[in-house]
């Protein structure tokens, strides 16, 4: 059973997935950030592989990607950094990134390597359903990696069911069609999440985009199995003095009762 499936068997509400950019704020911060996230209550780590042209991301994640690239982060370096991660990291780790750098690395090699260092799943926003079914999905499944599709309020029901059936681990419910780091009106989001919940999907679903604090985390947890926080945490890291203090304060804020 995959680490993600196991997690959701033990915990199906208020699951917190936190995004961080590999190689940010320093090239060698990757593991330090991941360890700190694990220690302070994150259930899943979504590790972003920086790309020069991240279309689905807003300003905050874009600029952290640029910093990481300038720090010298590459997929090779990332796998070197992750080679020993499973000695300290026990929670699920999902890699998020864009297709182009992965294609240059070699898609099959990438999947093999990801699996071998202990990565559990992939989120590739610009790998659409058609290409997944025609070409890439088989390689992902062959390497026993979970694949998490994004769905939006505009995704038609039949397509949504298909994306759900091809996903494993969880489904990524984008709160509204937007890039990351934009504010949301959660009364509108609630209608969509209610609908998702009533669909009795195969996968648990986590809500992402616009989740930034306790209020927004609590709001979506009324319907979802949990949520994904990205830009708000990156912003905290960019302003905070050290990784551990920043992460502790940030996650305490989100998870407090």
């Amino acid at each position: 059973m995959s680490r993600l499936t196991e997690l959701f068997e033990q915990k199906n509400t208020r699951v917190l997935n936190v995004y961080c950019t590999a190689g940010y704020p320093q090239l060698n911060s990757t593991l330090e950030v991941m360890e700190s996230l694990q220690k302070n209550g994150a259930d899943i780590i979504e590790l972003g592989m920086p790309y020069s042209d991240p279309l689905a991301d807003g300003e905050v994640i874009q600029s952290s990607s640029l910093v990481a690239l300038n720090n010298g982060m590459t997929i090779d370096t990332l796998f070197e950094q992750l080679a020993t991660m499973r000695t300290t990291i026990h929670i699920p780790v999902v890699l998020m990134g864009y297709m182009n750098p992965i294609l240059q690395y070699g898609f099959e090699d990438f999947c093999k390597k990801a699996k071998s260092v202990g990565v559990d799943g992939l989120i590739l926003p610009d790998l659409p359903l058609y290409e997944f079914e025609q070409v890439y999905g088989a390689t992902i499944k062959l390497n026993d990696l979970d694949f998490i599709f994004l769905v939006t309020p505009e995704t038609p029901e039949t397509r949504l069911r298909k994306l759900d059936s091809l996903s494993s681990g969880f489904l990524y419910a984008v709160s509204s069609s937007a890039t990351t780091g934009t504010d949301k009106d959660f009364s509108k989001v609630a209608v969509y999440l209610k609908r998702l919940k009533s669909m009795q999907l195969k996968n648990p679903f986590l809500v992402g985009f616009g989740i930034k604090d306790k209020a927004s985390f609590d709001a979506v947890n009324a319907f979802a199995n949990g949520a994904i926080i990205g830009s708000a945490y990156i912003q905290a890291l960019s302003k905070g003095k050290d990784v551990e203090t920043t992460t502790k304060t940030f996650l305490q804020g989100v998870l407090s009762n």
Binding site: Y51, S52, D53, L55, A56, G58, E59, Q62, L66, L69, T74, I75, D76, Y98, M99, N100, P101, I102, L103, Q104, Y105, P125, D126, L127, P128, Y130, E131, Q134, V135, F149, L150, V151, T152, E154, T155, P156, R159, L163, V174, S177, A178, T179, T182
Partner: protein, 403 residues
């Protein structure tokens, strides 16, 4: 590879938008419904006789089509072949870009869209978009690289005068690539009542095919006009500059399936193809994904898109449309390049011998003529894609340096 369709007809990509291995729609789910609607409706709308008539009427009465096919006598004598110029520079707004924006604005109306967004490099597409938005009373926002805003000030002023909002793209290289990123992000964040008018034959399917079809009026006219003067619709060569490749796609379109016609695409070599300051995508790039389609992309070995260089903002792009990538790979197209210096030289030369001041982008197409080993019997059509008004500052600078 089952994805790769066997293209026997270069004009028609596969149902999923593939030209050989290039094309497709690598877009985040947030864009799915917008792009899917377009994919299902564009051909149907474009084939509708009422739509065709509306576009044709505007191209005639508003844009000023057909544009002349001009026999360049002095240039022909100098090069030693018969050279015809397809005068897209005489289109309203000064370049071929408006052929596409006229089509897309009417298509946007048919789709019930209320607002238009666009990216622009040299500003010609931005001006052409702002123009049709003014014509149709639609709100218009144009994304433009901060660096391009500086070097194309007259076009920025024109867009503003036409009522468009110009938003600087400040990420990355601050040029066309980043303006396109910003426009795509804006489209993701906009409600579905916004239509994105892409200015070139790039982006996710169906954009490359749709833009090529709207620009194909260029070669449709070429055929009729050339036949009227020479008795044959077929030249030996068609030459066009390529950034993303919209004027080239339009100039090549009705010759794509005519194997005797050599299609010459001219890329911007910047300071020289291997100088590290170039935008010659096919020479420097490799297969990759940029702006939602698979094509040839200038990138590092790690798959990060590199920042290109060209003196002309319109060619300063690290990719190329998937149709062109396929023409390159299949060798149906001949790909050449011209440096900043050659382009500048030819902008002045064409002005002096034909009385036509071309855009810097266009000047690249002329720069390869002496290298084409042309024969006196050859009949060459050069797509004169735009006029040089917008580049006057660069031209004035060059004159100062010469003086």
């Amino acid at each position: 590879m089952h994805l790769f369709n066997e293209l026997t007809n270069y004009q028609q990509p596969s149902e999923e938008g593939y030209y050989g291995q290039y094309g497709g729609a690598y877009i985040p789910e947030m864009l799915y419904s917008n792009v899917e609607t377009l994919k299902h409706q564009y051909l149907q709308i474009m084939e509708d006789p009422a739509f065709k008539a509306e576009v044709a009427a505007l191209l005639k009465d508003y844009v000023g089509r057909p544009t002349p096919l001009f026999y360049a006598e002095r240039l022909s004598a100098e090069i030693g072949a018969k050279i015809y110029l397809k005068r897209e520079d005489l289109c309203h707004t000064g370049a071929h870009k408006i052929n596409n924006t006229i089509g897309q604005i009417i298509l946007a109306q048919r789709l019930g869209k209320k607002k238009i967004i666009a990216e622009t490099g040299a500003g010609q597409h931005g001006v052409a978009t702002a123009t049709v938005c003014a014509l149709k009373g639609m709100e218009c926002v144009v994304y433009m690289g901060e660096k391009d805003i500086e070097r194309q000030a007259p076009n920025v002023a024109r867009m503003k005068m036409l009522g468009a909002k110009v938003v600087p793209a400040v990420s990355g290289s601050k040029t066309l690539k980043d303006a396109t990123n910003e426009a795509i992000r804006a489209w993701i964040n906009e409600p579905d009542t916004t239509h994105y008018i892409i200015g070139s034959v790039v982006g996710p399917h169906p954009y490359p095919d749709m833009v090529a079809r709207f620009q194909s009026v260029i070669s449709a006219e070429m055929r009729t006009q050339l036949e009227a003067v020479t008795g044959s619709a077929l030249p030996t060569h068609v030459v066009a500059c390529v950034g993303g490749g919209s004027n080239a796609a339009g100039a090549f379109y009705h010759y794509l399936n005519e194997p005797t016609v050599e299609l010459v695409a001219v890329e911007a070599a910047g300071h020289g193809v291997h100088s590290g300051m170039s935008a010659a995508t096919t020479q420097l790039g490799s297969a990759g994904i940029l702006h939602g389609s698979k094509s040839i992309v200038m990138q590092t070995k790690d798959g990060q898109v590199v920042e290109p260089h060209s003196i002309s903002a319109g060619l300063d792009y690290p990719g190329i449309g998937p149709l062109h990538a396929f023409l390159y790979e299949s060798k149906r197209g001949t790909f050449m390049s011209a440096t900043d210096e050659d382009a500048l030289k030819w902008a002045f030369h064409l002005s002096e011998i034909e009385g036509i001041i071309p855009a810097l982008e266009t000047a690249h197409a002329f720069a390869v003529l002496p290298e084409m080993n042309l024969k006196p019997t050859d009949i060459v059509i050069v797509c004169l894609s735009g006029r040089g008004d917008k580049d006057l500052a660069t031209y004035m600078q060059a004159m100062d340096m010469k003086a």
